[in-house]
Symmetry: C2
Subunit: 714 residues, 2 copies
């Protein structure tokens, strides 16, 4: 009878949980913070070690956020009520119980944490501690990251600290809620309803970022409007800052250089005009009154039509230092972008940022950091590392990568970007001899800089799944993890992400990780193989446009980049060409300058190569190029097969969306391959090798395709 | 021991349900289909009567959808597993068990249903039946509507059928996913990813509409692009149609008159040119191949710059009938909008649709229906009924209302619109004597038309809560319910909606319903009291602009509408003025033409009234106007108080959002009041009565306000 009764109750429990399911739709909103039930063993272990959460610093908003996160997460993961089992103690040395433990918190630095199983008075205690509350918060999220992935080590002893100081998202969000190069809906900032109406989503945004250690957000587009510096908009930013603050996230703003003029409060924006400097000082004071921990300004100046100090015959240094002086009394910084290319200079665009910024080394104020894109052009599927890295030893440089996939398939192509970013971080600049990696440049260790950073152009929008697709969440995740520790491997990050986002089951994680690891190379292969770049259609960049050569400025045209003719293809950047190779340190320059050593990833980036030149594979360049396009398509087909086998292991909702996006990706990979081969075949006069499938349509058909409603404009 | 065990299990159940809570966040996505647990008594009763769902027609997709909805809903509401308790049988007379019951299904008509408790072989059976599957589906939703509201009658015996045939949403959704006058994010149609990627949201959209009996959706903006008629976009519409079909929802498209020319497939769009007619016939054939149950076209022609047959010196009849012939072989219809006003005609804009369309009565083909807005101008907070209602007896007319609140506060003002629509539906045209209500015109009963309809401009977007605010969901709900039965009272509809959306607790429902019922009048009072209209700011219509008088066309200017001068205010539409009153039937015209009988809702719509003329209240017009503005603000303040008292009865997430929106509404109500009084005070030279709070700023300040980022453009 008793057993029967228990069985009935058990059935009731199962039923009630089942009823809750429709509302628990896997719409992707939960990101990697899903906190689903663990397997029995890990669940029991977790409950034993962290059954109740304790702190002596509950009054601190950041500690409170950490405790709330743990209390939100653990019962769901353990399937047990809070308050049973072992104790998890969280806090800082301000807590007497933590201070008494002698945790060697020096290892945690300003922002890091220690997680340890200790024994106090014969009882086990799990401690998460940081020197500051934000470190404890990061520790809590790290603990949950470990726990969500399955079994914890028998004895936890973890100490981590972030390698770079500024770990920032750059939102290219406009004030009308459009997002430049955003593929996931509108801006998450519901500007119009701010500052009165907040949104629970802002808190979830903060949680997700804090879980990765991201500690700053530039709220508005680098192509900024002056309006964002008006009192109304400062109040809106301040409201967002209030919500993000407990999570250790500072708010920054993109500043439009000409704002004082456009707001009709100054006659000039000349940085050396005292009235202009006074305007910015007063503006900074005003902002800091509303946002006491305001981070500072990000500036895109004299770039792609944006105004800047050069409009007044002044330099980037003049501009940056004037702004830096305005925020300096408040502890603020200026991030000045090196993404510039002249609208008159006929020189190789890839050389221009270096040419313009290298001479400015050592002249920037100490609260200025120069923000440099990963490569010298513009977030292409693959670029060599930017030659400025290592070339400005006396200036802090921060790395800017693009999380949103402007050039890598938007929301619907699966492309895991950590391998791309790691490739750049691990690239050796040889600035101070072997081992002078980009990672060591941006973490300050190479030159002893203390102001260090990494910025990612956010892929976040109002879509329920945040990033437009589930796999694009992995890029947000990977950015944050690499900004915390540039030495983490893309493979490890993919595994972490997949276990938390889907399931820790190795039967799922191993193949899905392999699929992710190959996905970016697939995009390179079907879009811009072997060092090609910037072959996308005009404006929206959606689909192929290698034939485009009639745009007003030379460097807007794909033909400028590929330089294909009847003899060969590729941009000669050696001494016989633009000599961009000379911007790199000698060992790097030497390797890039030689077709035999450059490697085929960058062959056509640095060299104009004859169509019939033999490659290491034994194939001619033309044959090799064809094989790369085919490999790209084949990889996507393989991803479809992989996903078909994995989909049954997860929920139907996300599985179906991912499957349908892979269909789109395959169709568009074929479009890219066919259109590119039709075009390059017509230019080269070469025929496709025997057995290779010809393009489905003729070149004219591809050239005639227009997509006025493609995403990506704004 | 046994009791202790049960108690532990009970605690476990409670805990597990509690864990599920975070994911069950009340973000508004569930609309009125939340299916939350009922109170113990009604839950037990419901389980007893509808424990298991049975059908003999599971192969029918619409019956399957009905069964799925019941199975999704009932366990959550009853808290009991499916399969226990009594039987609910659903289907049509195609089911032998239903046919055998003799249910007098004639009462259900083509689209209606019967819901009855019957006894078969001594056992109770609950039957939901329609003559067609869609009727059964509507019956299932009606049953769930009743059940969600609390106790069911001891013996159910309901028969309903819709009063109008076409119950349509008009989406003003553009192909780039912007929505004209949309205040709830992007278009729910993720056009770019269609037709490959569908979205679970489309199904939920269909469920919500079917729950109200809405049976058609015009997918694209009446300001249409020709692209929507290309094969690519027809395929996208077809995919949406496939998803909506099981829910009884047909897809329609807005057609751009000049499409054949713009698509470069014809030299003219002259409706009498045989090549043009042939193009549209072929286009219709093409659409019907992709969408066999395509509903037809909605056309905005020769209106606000849209092309139309008049561009070729043809008439609306020429255009509509040509298109009608193209869709006629497939059973399609044409909805031709009467919303026209000339860009050269200096006559009263309120008269123009009538002047243009009345002479066309009897000349339209039998599959054409003319779509007429509720009032003669454009969805203002209050307009008299459109004079075309009752004036075109030989032409089917459908009513067009605007669910999205272009002129009533967008997403953040709480304004329940059912009272506005009911006011129009109940208005007596006197076309065939007393009782010739607009409702009887549009349901066909007045003139014996069989093609009948009601359209609502949708307020649906990609926002998680669908409509931009929780209370705006009530307007979607009310539109559907009134299209089903124009005689339902706004009060009853508000009650239904509130019980399902929040809680059936009368302590909540009674005050919230009262608040809703007064909310639209509040907007009238603080924006355009006493018959004023169209005083909104230019372009986005956000905020007051009564002073605007410099726009190119006279009828774009607020000053055109209010005609305020030092002597008085209002638009004389009597014989001494534009004589628009003469467009109404004599008894109506007589009432409107006399200041003493028109009533103060329409006083200034029809009359220019002296500032010092005494009103029935004893106050002068100026004093009365001031008091209306004050009343509007006071009502919003009262809504804030009401909500503060009710909010604790619901979830914090929705409560907080509604509270913050009420703060915005109050601030903007004060802005409207202050700016309007500052302006009208300056024009009239009248001072504010003693004790009345003066505007916070001077008129120049209000006139200088610009909102370049206000929602509403596109």
């Amino acid at each position: 009878m008793r057993l029967k009764l228990m069985a009935r109750w058990a059935a009731a429990v199962a039923m009630l949980l089942a009823f809750a399911q429709p509302a628990l739709a896997e719409d992707g909103y939960g990101l990697w913070l899903r906190y689903r039930p663990l397997a029995a063993g890990p669940a029991a272990d977790l409950a034993t070690r962290a059954g109740s959460i304790e702190t002596e610093e509950a009054a601190d908003p950041t500690i409170a956020a950490a405790v709330a996160e743990l209390r939100r997460a653990l019962p769901g993961m353990t399937g047990r009520p809070a308050g049973q089992g072992g104790t998890l103690l969280i806090g800082t040395p301000a807590s007497p119980r933590i201070a008494a433990l002698g945790l060697l918190l020096a290892r945690a630095g300003d922002d890091g944490f220690v997680i340890r199983d200790v024994t106090v008075g014969g009882r086990r205690l799990l401690v998460i501690a940081g020197n500051r509350p934000v470190g404890a918060l990061y520790g809590a999220f790290h603990f949950l990251r470990l726990a969500q992935q399955g079994a914890l080590p028998a004895r936890l002893d973890v100490a981590e600290r972030p390698r770079v100081k500024l770990r920032l998202l750059n939102h290219w969000d406009n004030l009308d809620r459009t997002v430049e190069r955003g593929y996931s809906g509108q801006s998450i900032w519901a500007w119009w309803k701010l500052p009165i109406a907040s949104d629970p989503r802002y808190v979830d945004y903060a949680r997700a970022n804090a879980s990765l250690g991201i500690n700053g957000a530039v709220l508005n587009n680098v192509n900024a409007k002056p309006d964002s510096l008006t009192p109304d908009w400062i109040a809106k930013a301040a409201k967002v800052a209030d919500v993000l603050r407990p999570y250790g996230i500072r708010v920054y703003l993109s500043a439009r250089w000409s704002a004082p003029v456009e707001l009709k409060q100054a006659k000039t924006a000349d940085p050396l005009d005292p009235a202009v400097a006074a305007w910015w000082r007063a503006k900074a004071d005003e902002i800091y009154r509303a946002i006491p921990d305001f981070g500072g300004f990000l500036v895109k100046a004299n770039s792609e039509g944006q105004p800047g100090p050069q409009d007044y015959k002044r330099t980037h240094v003049d501009g940056a230092n004037m702004l830096a002086a305005a925020v300096k009394p408040h502890g603020g910084i200026v991030m000045w972008r090196a993404f510039v290319y002249s609208d008159v200079d006929p020189d190789d665009r890839a050389k221009q940022a270096y040419d313009e910024f290298k001479p400015l080394d050592s002249r920037f104020a100490d609260n200025v950091i120069v923000q440099v894109k990963n490569g010298p052009i513009d977030f292409q599927p693959r670029e060599p590392f930017h030659p400025l890295f290592g070339a400005m030893p006396k200036t802090p440089l921060m790395l800017e990568v693009q999380i949103t996939k402007e050039y890598l398939g938007f929301a619907t192509h699966l492309a895991y970007l950590a391998p791309m970013w790691s490739e750049v971080l691990a690239a050796d600049t040889y600035a101070k001899g072997r081992g002078s990696t980009v990672a060591k440049v941006i973490d300050g260790s190479l030159e002893g800089h203390r102001l260090t950073g990494m910025a990612g152009v956010a892929n976040i929008g109002s879509d329920r799944n945040w990033s437009g697709s589930i796999f694009d969440q992995a890029n947000w995740y990977a950015f944050g993890r690499l900004a915390w520790n540039p030495d983490l491997t893309p493979q490890a990050i993919a595994g972490e992400w997949a276990r938390q986002t889907f399931t820790p089951d190795p039967a799922f994680v191993t193949p899905v990780t392999a699929m992710m690891m190959g996905s970016r190379q697939a995009v390179v292969d079907y879009m811009t193989p072997m060092g090609l770049a910037h072959l996308m259609a005009t404006g929206h960049h959606y689909g192929p446009g290698p034939w485009v050569g009639d745009l007003a400025r030379p460097e807007w045209n794909p033909t400028y980049y590929h330089r294909a003719d009847k003899d060969g293809i590729g941009f000669d950047r050696t001494r016989t060409g633009s000599n961009a190779v000379a911007q790199y340190a000698a060992p790097v320059a030497k390797r890039f300058a030689d077709k035999r050593t450059v490697g085929d990833d960058f062959l056509l980036w640095f060299h104009h190569v004859g169509w019939d030149e033999r490659q290491p594979s034994g194939r001619t360049l033309w044959e090799e190029l064809v094989s790369r396009y085919d490999r790209g398509v084949a990889t996507v087909e393989g991803m479809q097969r992989t996903w078909a086998s994995l989909a049954p292991m997860i929920d139907g909702e996300r599985a179906a969306q991912i499957a349908s996006f892979l269909v789109i990706q395959k169709e568009e990979a074929i479009w890219w391959r066919d259109a590119s081969l039709a075009y390059f075949g017509s230019v080269s006069g070469r025929k496709l090798p025997t057995g290779v499938r010809p393009p489905a349509h003729d070149l004219q058909t591809y050239e005639a395709i227009r997509h006025p409603y493609a995403p990506g404009h704004h």
